[in-house]
């Protein structure tokens, strides 16, 4: 038999395929598409916090895969003949993590875009009081406003500040002169401060993964201080990024970080400054740095007295009649991921407690309405490429708070991973169980969630801390220890390999 083109045409012609579009979908999509286009050619959300870092990251994301990099012993340290202390970039970053306070001057260079009329340079000051658990950070957000004169939406760039005094977080919108308060629990305070430091490192090209790419290239005297110069070059599809750090060798304190970019294959092209950061260690913040008093003349949507104490929550999982959320996620040094989440059927007012009965650590994940059965990691978060690693989901523990059950699952990679990223992101794969699936064709939904990599010594503070935050009975999870989880991971990984 021969299937030539004509025959296959006949086969196709004889098929009964219903490919008529759904009118509702068509109309809804048309509106959504045109709204997105009207709002902005490139922004589809009304408010988007866009610090210079995310802009750079976005740019990097578009630039494709990593091609090459110098990998020299930045991590193992360099022994110098002149007796300069031996250190590597990992020591430099550890010094930063262990600081009492970090003071950051961040020069931001914005190019002309839809929200700003010309190239602009701003200097923002951020403070992280690691010891006291307080922060003051700023970022520019693109805000869509309605222009009364033209009657059209207009994009503007507004400075948004977040001040956290250790209990209340005040968001200040400098454009609208308005403030809003949130209240954070002690655990959230710990998490907030830790994430602030790691996020700063990530944005400053100092994540653990990037440290091995730095090489010491010389010295320079700045403000009467002899500083080592560490350089890193990163080649992308269209651009080259160059980052330079100036480090005081005697104390391993980093003083400055600058980043430039230029077009690839453009030898004569100029390096364009994209980031310029000055860092000060252990400086006592001026009074009122972390003050959450409402500035005079500012409107306030709420007050500290009426501030809502936000529950621990990272990413929502709403779909059809399902209500759910990912509470938080932590990555362990071996690459396993512990994630807290809940999922409820809104139509079912009395949750079925029996689902959580007889669960065993290492056993199946409970069959909740939306069941997070696995996750996917990113091989290259800059390009969004997913890795081949398969994560096996298992039940670890559950907690109950105010009538709501929280599932704590562990996702174990099928291979050994040395986690180098501080804030790895994952795609969460949630299967919809049939009884709650209104649309029979919808099998799963996916979300992206960020996590925090923790050390074994931080397990109790963060993992148990998060579980306790979601529990009326903290004693119930006292049997969960780092060793127990580590052993469980190994056991499951071994069984997978077999």
């Amino acid at each position: 038999m021969k299937i030539d083109e004509k025959q296959f045409e006949q086969i196709v012609a004889g098929l009964n395929i219903d490919d008529r579009p759904n009118t509702e979908h068509k109309q809804a999509l048309r509106k959504k598409m045109l709204d997105a286009c009207k709002e902005s050619p490139s922004e589809t959300t009304a408010i988007r916090i866009q610090p210079v870092w995310s802009k750079i990251m976005k740019s990097r994301a578009a630039q494709g895969a990593i091609v090459t990099m110098i990998i020299i012993g930045a991590l193992i340290g360099i022994k110098l003949l002149d007796g300069t202390p031996v250190y590597g970039m990992s020591e430099v970053v550890e010094q930063l993590r262990n600081a009492r306070t970090i003071h950051i001057y961040n020069s931001i260079h914005y190019e002309k875009n839809q929200a700003i009329e010309r190239n602009e340079k701003y200097v923002l000051e951020d403070w992280i009081d690691i010891e006291g658990g307080r922060t003051r950070t700023s970022a520019f957000g693109i805000i869509r406003v309605h222009n009364r004169e033209s009657g059209k939406p207009q994009m503007i760039q507004a400075l948004i500040e977040h001040v956290f005094d250790g209990e209340y977080q005040m968001q200040v919108n400098q454009h609208f002169k308005s403030v809003h308060f949130n209240k954070l629990s002690n655990f959230q305070k710990l998490l907030h401060t830790k994430k602030a430091v790691e996020s700063f490192l990530d944005k400053t090209y100092l994540s653990s993964k990037e440290l091995s790419e730095y090489v010491k290239v010389g010295q320079e005297k700045i403000d009467n201080e002899q500083l080592d110069i560490w350089q890193r070059k990163k080649l992308f599809t269209n651009s080259i990024y160059k980052t330079i750090c100036w480090v005081k060798p005697s104390t391993c304190e980093i003083r400055y970080v600058k980043a430039w970019k230029k077009k690839k294959d453009d030898d004569k092209g100029e390096w364009k400054l994209v980031s310029d950061v000055k860092i000060e260690f252990n400086v006592t913040p001026p009074p009122n740095t972390f003050s959450t008093e409402v500035p005079e003349g500012y409107r306030h949507a709420n007050t500290k007295d009426t501030a809502y104490e936000s529950p621990l929550r990272s990413r929502q999982l709403p779909l059809e009649t399902i209500e759910g959320s990912i509470v938080t996620a932590f990555t362990l040094p071996d690459g396993s991921v512990i994630m807290g989440w809940y999922s409820e059927d809104k139509n079912n007012t009395s949750p079925d407690d029996s689902i959580f009965e007889n669960l065993e650590a290492g056993g199946d994940i409970p069959k909740l309405p939306a069941e997070i059965y696995s996750i996917e990691s990113f091989e290259d978060k800059e390009t969004g490429t997913l890795s081949d690693t398969i994560y096996y989901g298992r039940h670890l523990a559950y907690t109950k708070k105010e009538g709501r059950f929280y599932e704590w699952s562990i996702y174990i990679p099928d291979k050994n991973i040395v986690q180098q990223e501080a804030l790895p992101r994952y795609r969460v794969l949630a299967k919809l169980n049939p009884e709650t699936r209104q649309d029979p064709n919808r099998e799963y939904l996916d979300r992206t969630v960020s996590s925090l990599t923790i050390r074994p010594s931080e397990f109790n503070a963060f993992v148990l801390g998060a579980m306790k935050e979601c529990s009326d009975n903290p004693e119930a999870i006292e049997n969960i220890t780092y060793d127990m989880v580590s052993e469980l991971s190994n056991k499951i990984r071994n069984s997978i390999e077999k």
Binding site: F8, N22, L29, E376, N441
Partner: protein
């Protein structure tokens, strides 16, 4: 359909024109590639939102350039969806014993299931060419422009893909023997 003179003239109005003129076809293309109406709706949404974001960057003049560009976006999205879906199907299968076959929400008969099952086993480029050629009734040069290959290369790939399909469909025993010409190529 209105003439789209140049990329610079493309605005919201032109995007509307493109949507109104090609939504049905792009959706149908997604159904043919993905075999699932729900998935086709999701991917069609992604395709047009991507089109809205990038319409200013399309190069080439005339409406043909934009249609080719739209199909290229659609092809990339469908291929990405298939890759992701296969991977997730594998994960699901590993996790749960029960295997869920691709849904047949279109209400098509078994022939469509068998044909789709066979097409799904081809390489993404082969799937793309088969679908564009036989389901979207495109000419070789149109397909070549969408997948950025030469028309002769498209012919060669199509020929090979049809050979594979023949084996797969015979293996599936879907009664094609009676339609054959009685000799092997």
């Amino acid at each position: 359909m209105a003439t789209l003179e140049s990329p610079n003239q493309l605005g919201i109005e032109a995007l509307e024109t493109l949507f109104d003129g090609y939504y049905d076809r792009i959706y149908a293309y997604c159904v043919h590639r993905l075999f699932c109406r729900t998935a086709a709706e999701d991917v069609t949404s992604a395709i047009f939102l991507a089109a809205a974001a990038g319409i200013g960057s399309v190069s080439g003049n005339g409406s043909d350039a934009h249609v080719r560009w739209l199909y290229a976006i659609a092809t990339n999205h469908c291929n990405a969806y298939i890759r992701k879906h296969l991977r997730r199907q594998k994960l699901l299968e590993k996790y749960q014993q029960q295997h869920q076959s691709p849904d047949n929400a279109a209400g098509a008969g078994p022939d469509w299931t068998a044909v789709y099952g066979a097409i799904a086993q081809l390489k993404p480029t082969e799937q793309t060419i088969i679908t564009l050629r036989f389901f979207e009734n495109m000419e070789y040069d149109q397909i070549a422009a969408i997948i950025k290959k030469r028309p002769t290369a498209v012919r060669v790939i199509l020929h090979r893909a049809l050979k594979k399909l023949r084996k797969l469909l015979n293996a599936a025993d879907c009664g094609l023997e009676n339609r054959g010409t009685g000799h092997e190529d």
